[in-house]
Symmetry: C2
Subunit: 253 residues, 2 copies
DNA sequence: TCGAATTTGTGCGTATGTATC
DNA sequence: GGATACATACGCACAAATTCG
């Protein structure tokens, strides 16, 4: 006879009490010791139950402070489609924010002449250690960080042009496709490879999410019409904050 | 001074021993008790270390049997693009397998007149409880299951036609786009929403992966040129077995 | 300003369940 | 069916972070 483990029973109790509005969004729960005594179980059982609910986004633990009822954040919708890439004057992220009617902006930090690590070199079709322009992005919606990205471009490609720096000069902030067009390179397609994984401690603190929360890690590479990779990026999208949507046209011959 | 926890030290020891070929692919490691004594730590430390390596795909735990060195499986590449949807006579999955030069097939089980659950009803733009045709798929590459999918179509849409059953009749196994075309419905685009999550126990056993392993759960919906949803599916892709790739064309105006 | 009390987070040990051989 | 080994659940101790007097 399968008897439900105590920690699952406590998890249900906590869920029920939240549903009953005994605690509402933002409230702090009693300490583990209190709940444990109240429910007649060990402290550790309460901890396990809380961990479960935290992983489900119902609760939120703050070290040294307490366990709180998490607020159900509206997730930001990130559309990834060919149409999105055709923004004449803006970047894809700005288009997403526009569609949501939200204030979106980003901060970036560019370093030129960074030697390419092995994986990046493979993705860009260059030699390991070849120089790149690396730009680290932090995208914010309404002031809250919702997405991280690290972009790599071969230095050789843009050296000496006005678009060497992705976020500097007259073509700042218009996206890879438009910038490459300015120096006569036609970007014909992008390849995106989404992978599920857990957030690192650093990513979690940057994005304001729980450590180990689920994220989608997208490896994106832009290719020119010559078939040459012109940019590749590692994009980290936290599942708790964003939903990723691909729109794929279907045209039968 | 931050001293590395014992379980991380043991994890490094195990990794090193594997790198040194002391244990090779498929070998069974000594029992936890043996390793624990050998390394002078508690059994639990060894367990934590093994859990870490299992989550990284280095080891594989088999209950009642032992812990083994996992074989590095070649991941199956699943391309999702507009071009993929334009296969004249085959399904998208078959196209993927063809591209890999692998033997690909699938098993399916269809039930007609299943009432739509709430979430499915929303995605299909029908009422909750309205009848649907539900088809459960299990996709296999070289005989190994690599992908699960549950497809829903409004029963009203195909009732009385030759394509009521997705995997029956003269249009079996050609994909949604081609089947809909056979009854005069033009599918214009698909929307896919990939979400990272952990595999359920049932999914893990069906896919032959570790319980709780990372998967990409894609909610896909096909729309007709009238803008009406004609099919929606929940696709489960285990990260350990498959890589998902989106190809996005870029055309500047 | 500082330090003590409180609370969560982490590591590790032990007991029990369960699958495999 | 028994022995072995992994899986799960719970308890304890301590560290880290926060709060408050």
């Amino acid at each position: 006879m399968p008897e439900k483990p105590p920690y699952l029973r406590i998890a249900d109790v906590l869920r029920q009490r939240i549903a009953d509005q005994e605690w509402t969004v933002g409230d702090r729960l009693p300490s583990r010791a209190q709940i444990a005594e109240e429910c007649g179980v060990g402290e550790n059982v309460v901890r396990r139950a809380q961990e479960l609910l935290i992983s489900q986004g119902v609760l939120e633990g703050r070290a040294g402070s307490g366990t709180y009822v998490a607020e159900p954040r509206r997730r930001v919708r990130m559309v990834r489609s060919s149409a999105r890439e055709q923004q004449p004057g803006g970047s894809p992220f700005r288009a997403d924010m526009l569609a949501l009617g939200k204030q979106g902006h980003w901060e970036s930090h560019t370093e030129a002449k960074v030697p390419a690590p092995a994986e990046i070199a493979v993705r860009l079709g260059i030699g390991e250690g070849d120089l790149c322009v690396r730009t680290v992005y932090e995208f914010l919606a309404e002031g809250c960080p919702v997405q991280l990205s690290t972009s790599w471009e071969p230095y050789e490609l843009t050296a000496g042009t006005l678009v060497v720096l992705p976020e500097g000069g007259p073509h700042a902030g218009v996206g890879v496709v438009n910038r490459m067009a300015a120096i006569g390179i036609t970007v014909s397609h992008a390849v995106e490879q989404p992978e599920p994984r857990h957030a690192s401690a650093e990513e979690a603190s940057l994005l304001g999410i729980q450590k180990g929360a689920l994220v989608t890690h997208i490896r994106r590479t832009y290719y020119s019409d010559q078939g040459r990779p012109v940019e590749t990026a590692d994009i980290v999208i936290p599942a708790a904050l964003c939903e990723v949507v691909y729109e794929i046209p279907v045209s039968r011959s």
